[in-house]
Assembly symmetry: none
Homo-oligomer: 136 residues x 3
């Protein structure tokens, strides 16, 4: 098996101290990066981002930020955070709170929770056993 060089410490342009999950701040950073615009970049209007070179993105960009080099894993995370893919066409994802130049919106993006737990919580059937309080 080949030797992969992980570099999860690529310089982030936004401070990691905020309450924004690591995935979101890393992803926002790598889309903002201008010297990789041939691979991944904002769409013209800055309302979504494009992956122009899926191969290069998976093998060169991803391992610089995450512990893997698979596009499928990246997409799984995108969906976990509510991003949607543009159908038919080049790889394009969007989220109402993921926009060019506005990293302050990222904190509005919430990671999805396991659905059957959400339902139970909504039905007041599930509480935190540790702190004895509702979860949502």
């Amino acid at each position: 098996m080949d030797l992969k060089v992980w570099n999860p410490c690529a310089a982030l342009t936004m401070k990691q101290s905020s309450n924004v999950p690591t995935f979101l701040s890393k992803m926002w950073t790598l889309v903002e990066e201008t010297h990789t615009n041939e691979i991944i970049t904002w769409k013209q209007n800055g309302q979504s981002f494009l992956v122009l070179d899926e191969q290069g993105f998976a093998k060169e960009i991803l391992p610089k930020y995450f512990k893997h080099n698979n596009m499928a894993n990246f997409v799984r995370q995108l969906n976990m955070y509510g991003f949607r893919k543009e159908r038919d066409g080049p790889v394009e994802f969007q989220h109402p709170y993921f926009k060019q130049g506005q990293d302050d919106l990222l904190e509005n993006i919430k990671r999805k929770i396991v659905q059957f737990i959400v339902t139970l919580v909504q039905n007041n059937q599930l509480v935190s056993l540790k702190h004895k309080r509702p979860l949502l």
Copy 2:
């Protein structure tokens, strides 16, 4: 072995992020296209569309939008969405919500569901086992 060139990435005039199925937005787009009016075009009143050159449509237009080049497949989709063919005359299809210049009507067109499931649901014999609720 023959080499077929599919190019399903023809530019769409509608946003794909809408809730309109891909087939409808693609089809509406290709009928609207003016530079292919010799092959497929709106009827004079804009209430239905005509396929003037079936061969050209199948072999040149279809593979630009879909992953096939068969007229029969296209017609199957039309029927799935409730389009009806005009008897007697050139190839002409119509649907009450498919009109020239009005892509906002497309969202009213509903795709048919597998019939035996529809019937069972109407008889209240089919529920989603996952969510414990009727499917329709």
Copy 3:
């Protein structure tokens, strides 16, 4: 807009007239192909297959047999037919009836059906309305 070349008509070494689904016969054929052994090939024991060059497989092999060029779509089909991925290591999938040189075993591989329908059928709650018979 980019131009993609689909060639779903690559010569098959097994006759398509059998009752084996297209996906299985195509996949068995492309694994058997010796001139692409650098990209995809049988494991030494012939009990599973390896994808050695995922990038090349997705962009060069897949579109020669199927109407897409995405690894994810290929994996979805594999799972639909019951193939399992080998954890930890290079891309390796296996199925008890998918073995080197034995295309006669392929007919034992069954495609999965939507699960909630399977359950209903097993409970004798779902029949074909057309032919008035159980569906399985």
